[in-house]
Each structure stands twice: as C-alpha cells, then as structure tokens.
Symmetry: C2
Subunit: 145 residues, 2 copies
DNA sequence: TATATTTGCATCGTGAACGATATAAATAAC
DNA sequence: GTTATTTATATCGTTCACGATGCAAATATA
C-alpha cells in the first residue's frame, strides 16, 4: 500500500536529483573560472543581451530579485559585471558585463558541449532531447501559472 | 552565433527551473505541517523502511551526510524523528520515526495526487510520464558515474 | 598486538533559494 | 498638488547543498 509515497514514483525527486547532479557536472568546468552555476546562468542572459536591469535578469531566470541581487553583488566583487543606477528610472539597477565578463564567453566555449556529452545515454540522445525539452517546458509553463 | 549559450538550448536550466517550481508547488502543502521538501523526502525514505542509519538515507537521496545531518537534527527538534547511536556499530546514527513522524503519512495522504495533478498538461500525462521517468532515470544513472 | 586505513558522522564556511519585510522612486488617484 | 499605490531593488532570517576538514569507531595490515 501507499505506492504513491514511493521515491520511485516521484517526478519531483527525479527532477531535483537530475538538476543537482547535472549542476555538479558543471562545477569543475565553471569553478576553474571562479563561477558557480547560477552565476553562469546570469552570464548566459547577459551574453544574449548586455545591460539589463536586475528585474529582467531575474524574470528571465524565473528567480526572485532577493536571490539575484546578492549573486550579482558577488559577480561585481569578482569584476564580472558592473551595477549602476538606471538613468531614466532611478529605481532600476542596470547590470553590465565587464571586459572580464565578456571574455569569459570564449573561455567557456567548450562547456555546453562537454556537459551535453556527459548526459548522452541510452534514452537521451540528440534525437530524443527535443521531446524532453517540450515536456520540461510544459511543466515549467504549467507551474508558472 | 553561439546558439549553444542560448538559455533555450540548455537542458540543465530546464531541470533546475522545473525542479524549483515543482518544489515550490509542494511548499504550501508541506509548510502547513512544518515540513520542507527535503524533509519530506527523508520521510518518504523512512516510511518505506524505518530505522535507518544516516548513511543509508543519504545514499537513497543521493545526498551527502553533511547535508542530511543538519536536516535530521531539525527534524529531531520538531519531534519527527529520533537519532540514536547504533548498537552493533557505534559510528552509526540510527534514525527512527516518532509517533508524530509516522502520523504525518496520513496527514499528507493527498499531497502526491495534488502535486501530480498540478503538472498534468498537454505533453505531460499519465501516458507520457513513464517515458519521462526513463529519461530522467537515465540521466541520473549516467551522472552518478 | 600495535599501527595504518577505512568508514560513519559531524563541523565549518560559502553560496544559493526564498518568504517576509523595508525603502525609495515612479505612477496613479483624488 | 497632495496622497495612495505600485514598482524595483535590497535586507534579513532560515534552510538547504556541498566542498573541505575533523574525529572516533571499526577494520585491515604489519
């Protein structure tokens, strides 16, 4: 009885574990450059579009500003980004890549492929990944409300 | 150029986000009983088999003991589990459910279904979830080494 | 049996996550 | 134009995660 409580029947535990383990796979690659995985996510956002307010970065990553603000301060301390008051709206804090922050893109050029290769296995291949993306995107969309 | 750095092409970001959002979905249901999601996972493990050493619980959840130990201490403080030195091996710390810990199973009986329903959507249905489980299990197995 | 190694757990420090709350600037309502 | 509300960000407290390290009990080795 109570198979519903079995760990093997839990979607959330699988997501939680897969997320942690895959983040761990990034660790040696990013740590070499003094980065954490959430900091790497901020870089992905800024590499796509530089000079964004805190709020835009947080929304893109589906995080709260109270998570992102301290993270950005650490990145500022490491000279990866600058933070400066917005011109038109003084409430905003505009985050901008430094030369070092932009330069990290080249240094991390092999990271996506390295990590991508690490997860390739029986049921997870270039052919099946798009289907996995659809399901995860649906779950995220659903839970965002 | 550099589509490989686009957030939309990242498996890890999807897992990370889906995991966080699904954990958030548990929050109101568990918080009502003073539980966090990782504490709920410990309960799932102990409900399956009571009286386990810290190490067995940690291994089951693929966590380190330095994560699990403080978590168990909080659960002990909340009178959900007891922790006592092992008889045959004095290094072990045996974790056992209290009456309250066992009783929580009945109180949380609706949680799996409630959360399960919350993720049902277009591409995630009782028919497609098993396929998703296979892929996530493969990823976990692969990353465990 | 004395010493070395392994094992199980704990402590410490750092960096997320996140709920709750605070503050100042911008905007809306009166 | 003054007051009320919303918005953008920050601060605070608690709980994970997790690498690094410490310590005592158990086991292996000499």
């Amino acid at each position: 009885m109570d198979d519903k409580f079995k760990l093997e029947n839990q979607l959330c535990f699988r997501l939680y574990t897969a997320s942690r383990l895959l983040t761990q796979a990034y660790h040696p690659l990013l740590g070499e450059h003094g980065l954490t995985y959430p900091q790497y996510l901020v870089l992905l956002v800024l590499w796509e579009k530089d000079e964004q307010p805190v709020n835009d970065i947080a929304k893109r990553l589906l995080l709260e500003t109270n998570t992102v603000t301290p993270l950005l301060k650490r990145m500022e301390a490491e000279d990866i980004v600058t933070r400066s008051k917005g011109q038109e709206d003084a409430r905003q804090m505009i985050v901008k890549l430094t030369k070092k922050g932009r330069g990290l893109q080249k240094k991390l050029t092999d990271v996506p492929e390295t990590v991508g290769n690490a997860v390739i296995c029986e049921s997870v291949t270039p052919e099946t990944v798009p289907g996995l993306f659809v399901m995860l995107d649906d779950i995220i969309k659903q839970l965002k409300q």
